[in-house]
Homo-oligomer: 219 residues x 2
DNA sequence: CCAACCTGTCACCAGCCGGTGAATAACAAG
DNA sequence: CTTGTTATTCACCGGCTGGTGACAGGTTGG
């Protein structure tokens, strides 16, 4: 029965034209990286795996091992991108405002960060990942993210210094923590601790509350 | 070869005494529920599944289907427990303090919640789960949690009302969001946005910052 | 004693996962 | 045309997952 094999190989009908995939390593690497970012942003870290990334990139998973040394390397590559990612998404200037006081600065930083996080699914997923798992993968990603963020804040800070007698590190950690959890919770459930977060108006109220908190501390 | 079967059934040696498992449905149900809570608290929601729970409970997974109707029902049972869970872990009284102002109240609530969350791995995992996934399971769990929490706050509030002109819902959402993210981040990485959160002294600083924020808004 | 019921166990399924060794197809140089 | 290199795919493995049907073993009631 030599014909049986042939049937398995190609079941008559249209020759199927296997898409004439070009041989281009750089493009493939990019496709893999894009697939990984897209998958992570859209589906979250739960179903994030070698097989899914390969499927999304339309190539064999073997290539991920070859080009990135496995999922870990791929995640690291995502982390490397994160620096520029932040720079692209959050304005680096003062937006034409004069930031006279530390309070002015922190209010602006808080609002910018809030909007940036709301607009960036990938970053949100990474933040959620960070508080859910403690693997080497996540730790590296987390480090890259916090570094990028710290750099941004430092660039914006200029020569402004916090008021004396206030533990700015502690207070700012609280403020950024609040923003992150607020946005994550809103993304998942449309609300946070009883505060609705769906309409633009809802978000205005949140922004107002945020400003109130910043100003309450820094004046 | 009828002996081969017998060998597979019992390889001679000690009769092994299969532990004389008692037949007690109530106890088994409890064992399953305990296993589920323990597993969720210790391992997180990532590896939380029927097989793992059954292994932890030392029984067959079939019983989880029988008694709880599957994982969903089991999660729901955890949620049902959550009300009493909260009551057991967070003091319901004022701790002998007189809460004169709304600011007094919120400061106390914030600090109590911070400590309670720090001390409760299960609750932390649930919070992390809430911001990571949006399935029916998690939604129900989340609802149970927020209800228990809202009830607690309401009991503590008594007749105190927030100052006029302040959106207490918004501000409080921020405060509780900050606490939750701070504790989650600390649990995973020992820090949050550059603020170290390991030693008791670190946590004192965090508490001070938290108080400063609350007082900044509510006086 | 037998029958019905309840608790618990076991064996098995299909499906997906991460991971690996070998084959294949396109291209470049000789 | 041949040879070698590189990009890409394929076939397969063991292991784990959720899910189900059949069966064994006590317990109860007639």
């Amino acid at each position: 029965m030599p014909s049986a094999n042939a049937v398995l190989k190609n079941p008559i009908e249209t020759p199927a034209e296997p898409e004439k995939r070009v041989r281009n390593r750089a493009a493939t690497e990019q496709a893999i990286l894009d697939s990984a970012k897209r998958l992570l942003a859209e589906e979250g870290f739960q179903n994030f795996g070698i097989n899914a990334v390969a499927r999304g990139a339309g190539c064999d998973k073997q290539l991920i091992y070859r080009y990135y040394g496995g999922l870990d390397g791929l995640v690291e590559a995502i982390g490397t991108d994160l620096g520029s990612w932040v720079k692209d998404r959050i304005p680096d200037d003062t937006g034409g405002m004069f930031l006279l006081t530390y309070g002015d600065l922190m209010e602006r930083l808080a609002l910018l960060f809030l909007d940036a996080l709301r607009a960036d699914p990938l970053m949100r997923r990474i933040v959620a990942w960070e508080v859910s798992e403690n693997t080497e993968q996540v730790r590296r990603l987390s480090e890259a993210r916090s570094k990028a963020l710290a750099g941004w804040i430092d660039r914006m800070r200029g020569s402004l210094t916090p008021p004396k007698g206030i533990d700015a590190v502690g207070v700012n950690a609280m403020i950024f923590a609040a923003i992150q959890h607020l946005v994550l919770s809103a993304t998942v459930s449309g609300q946070c601790a009883g505060l609705a977060l769906k309409t633009p108006k809802d978000w205005e109220k949140a922004a107002t509350a945020l400003k109130r908190i910043v100003r309450g501390v820094y004046g």
